[in-house]
Amino acid sequence: MAPTEYIYVTYIHAGPEEVWRALTDNEFIKKYFDGGGPQSDWAVGSPILWKMDDETGYRDWDQQVLEADPPHRLVYSWHNYQPEMQKYFPWTDEQLVELQKEPRARVTFTVEPAVESPIRPGRIEWTKLTLLHDNFVPGSEMRKGISEGWPFMMSKLKTIVEEG
């Protein structure tokens, strides 16, 4: 993994359509994003509102859907550093201004059939979900933060999809 990207791969005991729904159904998203996360109509070019926590609520942090190819590939732009994040990180106002000069990162989800049913040809029993979060600068504070968060979100997404 390059210092400018973050990758997390998991395998989910479900079909690609169920995994796609977990990525683009706004109610479903809240279940693994601790009640927040992104909300959008998930059409290419549409805005994404982001909820970091209950106190801040949904904000338009200039995020957009860049690609949406159901049920294969979803790409969206990430948010910049925000003043509301300073309560979680020890950034001064001056540091925040510097951090905001970093290029904006991007999230790409790739959904692929992994294991086909041995009994029912064409039915996918396990789906591979690859998260690529890239366009960070080396040593990025944002990358440190998302590296902590994504394994938890992706683990929870897998659990909820598998529970049906």
Binding site: V9, T10, V115, S155
Partner: protein, 168 residues
């Protein structure tokens, strides 16, 4: 690239005892690790072997073992070399790598109502060709382990099944 480290966190809704048993009981490892049995008496310095029937797929020695908390062992991944050949992309491994011992560690920590299982695989030879192979393999087995403990369904590859390689 030197100093390659593979780290993979999985959050699992289970107990420390069940998670530990899944990693150290060969009857359980074969349910999530493509039928392979991980065999050791887990005393420091004892051999650790990953067996497919009678065949030793990978092997090493116990370096650290604190029940229900953490363990690590050295690891000569013979299997990764065979895997590359099976996939039709044989890799020219350096002489130094064929006998090189990497290191695998598992650690369990609490995170809210669930457990975080952290896998760390490091100590690769300089310019190791193994790294992309293990980076492909571990998420597969860790996802299988999580499903096995949470829903009872480990990820089994039916004969002839193909696994999507995707971004790896």
């Amino acid at each position: 690239m030197d100093d390659q480290v593979f780290i993979y966190d999985t959050y699992v809704a289970t107990t420390r005892e069940r998670l530990w048993d899944a990693l150290t009981n060969p009857d359980t490892t074969e349910q999530f690790w493509s039928g392979n049995r991980l065999i050791s008496d887990w005393a420091i310095g004892s051999p650790v072997r990953l067996l497919d029937g009678d065949m030793v797929r990978d092997e090493g020695e116990v370096l650290d073992f604190v029940p229900c908390q953490r363990m690590s062992f050295s690891w000569k991944p013979h299997f990764a070399i065979e895997f590359a050949a099976e996939q039709g992309t044989p890799i020219a491994f350096a002489e130094s790598e064929a006998g090189h011992e990497t290191r695998v560690g598992f650690a369990i920590s609490e995170f809210g109502p669930q457990l975080r299982l952290t896998l760390t695989h490091d100590h690769f030879a300089p310019d190791s060709k193994l790294f992309p192979i293990i980076s492909f393999g571990w998420p597969f087995y860790m996802a299988s382990l999580k499903s096995l403990l949470e829903s009872g369904a480990g990820l089994e590859l039916p004969a002839g099944a193909k696994v999507g390689r995707g971004a790896n």
